[in-house]
Amino acid sequence: MTTAPRLTRRRALSGALGAIASVLAARQALATPDSAREWLASLAKGTPQAGKVTLKAPEIAENGMAVPLTVSVDSEMSEKSYVKALYIAADGNPNPPVAIYEFTPLAGKAEVSLRVKLSQTQNFVAVAEMNDGTLYKASREVKVTIGGCGG
């Protein structure tokens, strides 16, 4: 008499866990480094080189709701040579685009800080477009303990 309900509860529990696991799997299936790459490629035409771009973010973010990120680009920001645009993506988010910055030489220094929602452990990818059309790229991994999407 007493064992029957226990069994069903256990079964119900394992069923629920299975459901959670499949939801998590579905979430991860949404994660799209490829679509991040495509988005960046659609904006910044050409092949980005390594260097010049520095990403600062915590190695481990406890809360994915607001992960601080600082992106700086090495540039003198003069009329002759400046960063025209900076594209930032998070390659494991359901929607990888994060932000686009467009600068003029008046900015004086190509460095920006912002806070980003991250759904899971993933990479920030930043591409800088200089006024002469050259592209620079950098990425940085952030481990996320609690995701910051949906809920």
Binding site: V98, Y101, G108, V112, L114, R115, C149, G150
Partner: protein, 109 residues
């Protein structure tokens, strides 16, 4: 709800000619990503501040296009080179084309 949305600025009021100053801004806004489900189990429609335009004496300094991944109460910090006294103007716009404006004066000493 729109009444709760307030821009905040942290901008120096004086600068030396040619100095590069840091500008910090924040606007209180929920930044609904369109991915979150509400209490009724339905998706909450997307409503975010999608752009911030910064000008100094009407000359563009930085334009930011924001996506839903930008965290709630979007904080944005960046720099500007000050060559002359003037007014720094910020305009935030959301998905419904509502906009909020803030201004700050910088005196070159």
């Amino acid at each position: 709800m729109a009444d709760d949305i307030k821009p905040r600025l942290r901008v120096p009021s004086t600068a030396k000619k040619g100095e590069v100053v840091e500008i910090k801004t924040l606007i209180t806004h929920p930044m609904e990503s369109g991915q979150r489900k509400g209490a009724d189990g339905k998706l909450v429609p997307r409503l975010i501040v999608n752009s911030l335009a910064v000008t100094y004496n009407d000359k563009p300094v930085v334009n930011v296009t924001m996506e839903p991944a930008v965290a709630a109460n979007p904080y944005m910090a960046f720099f500007m080179r000050v060559e002359e006294s003037g007014t720094l103007k910020f305009v935030w716009t959301d998905d419904l084309k509502n906009s909020w404006t803030a201004e700050s004066k910088i005196e070159v000493s």
